[in-house]
């Protein structure tokens, strides 16, 4: 039986490195299979203030010369790592789905899924491990 790890991101981007750490760890998960004889599935879910990580058009490289959280998210989507964002929390901030990061024009076959918290709760229930950032 494989491992399934859910990364739950609750904090906004940039002031803390925590959200980016969650994304890089989630990206490393599938690569772990190369070194251990076990399937590792990772999923990232954004809740609360964490949903603010998912806005597109982040210009961190232009202003501060650092990679954007948007780029990290695109890398996840291009690597087929599922990304979920809480519908209720997006609505609380008045953020529409068309403002979210997308990587389909870069060849990604999946997009960020906007889901009710109940679906994130179901993922928490079924995950082998839960990591909060």
């Amino acid at each position: 039986m494989g491992l399934s790890i859910l990364f739950l991101v609750q904090t906004p981007p940039y002031k803390s490195e925590n959200p980016k750490l969650a994304l890089t760890h989630a990206l490393a998960g599938p690569l772990t299979e190369l070194h251990i004889d076990e399937e590792v599935k990772t999923t990232v879910a954004f809740v609360g203030d964490g949903v603010l990580n998912c806005l597109k058009d982040q210009k961190s490289m232009d202003h501060w010369d650092i990679t954007s959280t948007e780029q990290h998210l695109r890398n996840l989507l291009l690597s087929d790592v599922p990304v979920m964002v809480c519908k209720e929390d997006l609505e609380k901030f008045g953020i529409s789905k068309d403002r979210l990061v997308d990587a389909t024009e870069m060849g990604a076959e999946i997009s960020i899924e906007v889901v009710p918290f109940s679906e994130i709760q179901a993922k928490i229930d079924e995950a082998t491990a839960l990591m909060c950032f």
Partner: protein, 99 residues
């Protein structure tokens, strides 16, 4: 007293901001503080924008880093560049503090 207060978080203890007064009070929204200028949580703008007698500034570089533009900023906040910010704190405010 010329006082500049920096807000760099979306969540912070606002009690000090609510109570403090100054003849020239500037509130600088930087880093994650910029969300106060653009988000309407639950449909309501941030209470930071309602600080009486304060001039509220928001740093454009931090806005754009987070995927927002100056067009989305509440009318009560002035969008400034890092260069503007340096000029303001060097010329217009004698005390600086981070909330």
């Amino acid at each position: 007293m010329n006082l500049a207060l920096f807000v760099s978080d979306l969540r912070f203890n606002q009690e000090t901001l609510d109570r403090v007064t100054a003849s020239n009070l500037g509130v600088f929204l930087v880093e994650n503080g910029v969300y106060h200028a653009v988000l309407k949580e639950g449909g309501s703008p941030s209470a930071v924008l309602e600080k009486e007698g304060a001039t509220v500034y928001v740093l454009n570089e931090d806005l754009e880093t987070r995927g927002f533009s100056g067009d989305e900023v509440d009318d009560r906040a002035k969008v400034i560049s890092m260069s503007d910010l340096v000029d303001l704190i060097m010329n217009d405010y004698e005390k600086l503090a981070w909330l």
